[in-house]
């Protein structure tokens, strides 16, 4: 179980680092709804990883697979919806910056 805590801790650090890195490289603005979506998606992803690893450690491989499938689906839905939100929020800004390039 210690390995699970290590993996989750490392995943969080990687996720936060990637998020800040990505945000600093782009000029994308995130509304509160986008932030909420990112946090929910991240928590779902962590839950999926935690469930699957715990089930593997328990020896319940079917539970691990089903967990990946079911909780993973919810995670992807959250990611897709959040991505859509972010694109919508920044559509005007992106079209402006594309126009100025021309």
């Amino acid at each position: 179980m210690n390995i699970l805590a290590f993996i989750l801790g490392a995943s969080i650090i990687l996720f936060v680092w990637s998020l800040v890195s990505w945000k600093s490289k782009t000029q994308i603005r995130l509304s509160w709804l986008s932030w909420l979506g990112i946090i929910i998606a991240a928590l779902l992803a962590l839950f999926t990883i935690a469930w699957s690893i715990t089930s593997i450690i328990e020896g319940e491989i079917q539970a691990a697979g089903m967990g990946l499938l079911i909780f993973g689906i919810f995670t992807f839905i959250a990611i897709a919806l959040t991505r859509k939100r972010i694109i919508r929020d920044n559509r005007l800004k992106l079209s402006k910056s594309n126009g100025s390039k021309d």
Partner: protein, 456 residues
Amino acid sequence: MNENNRSRKPSGEIHPDNKEKKMNRRQFIKVGSVATASGALLGQAGFSGNKETFLNKIANSPVSHDHKEFPIKITEKCQRMEQKYTIFARHLWDHEFVSRIESSIESSSREALEKVKGWTPLDEALNGAAWALDHKFASGSENGQPHSLAYEWDEPTRRKKVKFHDLEDASKKIKKAARYLGASLVGITRYDPLWTYSKLIKENLEEEPGPDGRPNFEIFTPEFPFEPKSVVVMAVEMDYKTMALSPSSLGGTSTGLGYSHMCAVGYSVATFIRGLGYKAFANGNDVSLSVPYAVAAGLGELGRHGMLITKEFGPRVRLVKVFTELDLKPDGPKTFGAWDFCKNCKRCAEACPSQAIPSDEPTLEGKTISNNPGVLKWYIDPEKCIQFWRENGTDCANCITACTFNKPSLWNHQLLTAMAALPGAPLHILMAKMDKFFGYGNVDDRQANAAFWNGD
């Protein structure tokens, strides 16, 4: 003009096209702190299943409800039961029942079983080893035989009594000792004669069977050497992995080891209390009913399968009690939604190979003379159950294995136990179905039986 000047607006702001924005020291420290704190919090939370961890506290906190009264309906029809009517005692006197059971068993079944994984001589040897301590120190007690070594009533007691500050102090010390001596769960309740058998039955093991081949036995009214005031009820966890091999002989090792541990724990705790100067004796399946005492002591709830369902381990526990003259502060009954969940789940009824567990609503009437009517519960048919044990060549624990609450005490299962406390038949049905889809509660898994000796 150099390239850097072309990338800057006249106002000095950085042009949006300049995407090479690097992280400065302040941002690095902020990001690193947030990430490290998050990781440390999660690590502190711990997914180890330790009851003291943060996540387990969250999972457990809203779940239990305390009760002042016994949470199961008992009518006046419920009387003290005579031990001879318990299914394990009927072989001593109920010859019609024994003939009925024996006639249904094929004579060649034993030899055929030995070739099946889970019933091989290797598996039987492990089963025998698991039961060894119980058979040595509490022989026959699993079938209700009273006065067996570890469960003797009148053992030497220290003359001088140890004084406690108050009842709560005494209860706290007894529980601490019980956990140290091996109890997985411990609770205290008042002695209630309703749950003690009105008459006991004891097989005379020292005498040869009679000319008709039938065992000798005596029936007597229990007279304890002291007036019990308190009952220390303890649950001993059984092994999860071998329990999952039910109904094989290999699966039966979990039960056997449970009985052996329970006799050690019961005798040790009774000895501890006698060492404090108070009379005490342990009992398992003999002398009194275990499940009502466990419910009264707050260890769990009564399930559809007739067994105690604990929040921590489900029904995967063995119960042992210590009757004592020491006055202790009783714990009250606790519920956590198991009874309501059982109404909708029915996994045990589906897994029972002899259909001994009912699928309908709880009633006040029993099915056979081995049931004690007058309590609102699901009455199993013990005759069907024991018949399958005979056909199976060993005891069966499919109901325990299949139970949705039967899980290792890990964070994910504790979270789901907390969710099971939420009301709503659709939620319970969904959870029971998902439990099956996730592969939990499989019974008669021959592959798992075959793989047992290959693992660590």
